[in-house]
């Protein structure tokens, strides 16, 4: 029994890196000033150029940008704020919503 437990533990340890690689941090970035589709490209470009960002999805109606990070990368509020302001908008809210 003890041998089985040790084997399972070792298996879990070996599997952990692969499992961890599937985790991605996702953030909801609330943006003020988004008023038309043409505006969206600028904020996608600014947030998309932040190191570690894998995907940027915009919901124009709610003024929310969903930022999905690659691997274990994280996004901090100041970085998001700078990117949003460089695009000509203002940061309304910032929250880490889940891990995919």
């Amino acid at each position: 029994m003890k041998t089985i437990r040790i084997a399972l533990f070792l298996l879990a340890l070996l599997a952990a890196p692969a499992w961890a690689a599937q985790i991605a941090n996702v953030y909801n970035v609330g943006v003020d000033g988004l008023g038309c589709p043409f505006c969206v490209y600028g904020i996608e470009k600014e947030l998309g150029s932040v190191e570690g960002v894998d995907k940027v999805d915009v919901d124009l109606k709610d003024g929310v940008v969903v930022v999905t990070m690659a691997g274990e990368a994280t996004l901090d509020r100041d970085t998001a704020k700078k990117a949003v302001e460089n695009a000509g908008f203002d940061l309304r809210s910032f929250e880490r919503v889940s891990q995919e």
């Binding site: 609330g30 000033g33 008023g35 038309c36 043409f38 919901d59 109606k61």
Partner: protein
């Protein structure tokens, strides 16, 4: 030397006035992103972003009170490159490629003269002095200033000799201009308003009258009627007005009484806006033309084109 004092010169001078003024109209549609079709917007791109705009313009004038049965057409493509230096400041270059054609009857003979090539380059900057952002909307005020450089030829000739100035592609002069534009943009509609002034200077003994403008634009989202998630393309119905006042032109320091005046255009149009592209078309219809002397009246101006950001 007064143009009005020498026989046929009044007609010629009036043609000249209207034709070159029409060229000025042709290139005035400065860039923006989604926004007005016939003038500027206060919206700035993201830092480091470019916008390219190509606009086809057809401008026709044929209501001639002078009796010379003048007809003038100008066809052109206006190329615009805009660059956002930062979130507040944008630089623009506007270069038209035009063909000007003027027909008139002189001593019973119908004569047509034309020229084709690059027109005068407009360079200007626009700076956002006020920005207010809310969820789904923004309000911005931006003054702008620049200069129209004499890159278009102003000494073209044909079989009849030197082309009249009305057919030439450029003014030959350095002309500063400036103004103020404000924009209120929401997800449902956008309103833009602008005032501007261009101080034209003398070249080759000729000086265009200064130009003052007041413009307004409403863009209303027609489709989709209801917004869902994501970033759908927007179809806007557009209605604009342009109030344009031109001072009289001057030849050798003397006013041409058959030039200048005030025109009001009403401009219906359509615009389709996506994340990277804007497609648009509009027609400028003159609803008021209070022109001086025998100045040639405008029939209409058609504009169609696209914008692309990268």
């Amino acid at each position: 030397m007064a143009a009005a004092s020498e026989g046929r010169k009044p007609c010629r001078a009036a043609s000249l006035a209207i034709a070159l003024a029409a060229v000025a109209d042709l290139i005035w549609a400065d860039p923006a992103w989604s926004g007005p079709i016939t003038f500027n917007s206060a919206i700035v791109l993201a830092e480091g972003e470019f916008v390219v705009r190509e606009q086809f313009v057809f401008n026709r004038s044929s209501e001639d009170p002078s009796g010379a049965d003048r007809e003038r057409e100008s066809v052109g493509v206006i190329s615009v490159l805009g660059y956002a230096v930062d979130r507040d400041f944008m630089l623009f270059g506007v270069l038209p490629y035009v063909e000007n054609r003027l027909e008139r009857t002189t001593d019973g003979e119908r004569r047509a003269r034309s020229a084709r090539g690059v027109g005068d380059l407009r360079l200007f900057g626009r700076y956002t002095v006020l920005r207010k952002n809310w969820p789904g909307s923004t309000f911005r005020i931006s003054p702008f200033a620049g200069v129209e450089a004499p890159t278009g030829e102003d000494d073209k000739s044909d079989a009849f000799g030197r082309q009249p100035a009305s057919v030439q592609l450029g003014s030959g002069s350095w002309d500063p201009f400036g103004g103020l534009v404000l924009t209120y943009q929401t997800l449902d509609f956008q309103v833009d308003a602008a005032v501007s002034y261009q101080a034209n200077t003398e070249a080759n003994d000729f000086e265009f009258g200064d130009v003052a403008r007041a413009d307004a634009s409403l863009q209303y989202r027609l489709w989709p009627r209801e917004l869902a998630g994501g970033v759908p393309g927007f179809l806007y119905g557009v209605i604009e007005t342009n109030l344009i006042h031109k001072d009289k032109n001057r030849t050798a320091g003397v006013d041409n009484p058959n030039s200048g005046g005030t025109t009001v255009f009403l401009v219906p149009g359509l615009q389709y806006v996506t994340k990277r592209w804007v497609f648009e078309a509009a027609v400028q219809l003159p609803v008021v033309q209070d022109l001086n002397g025998t100045a040639l009246e405008n029939d209409f101006i058609v504009r169609a084109g696209f914008r692309f950001n990268f």
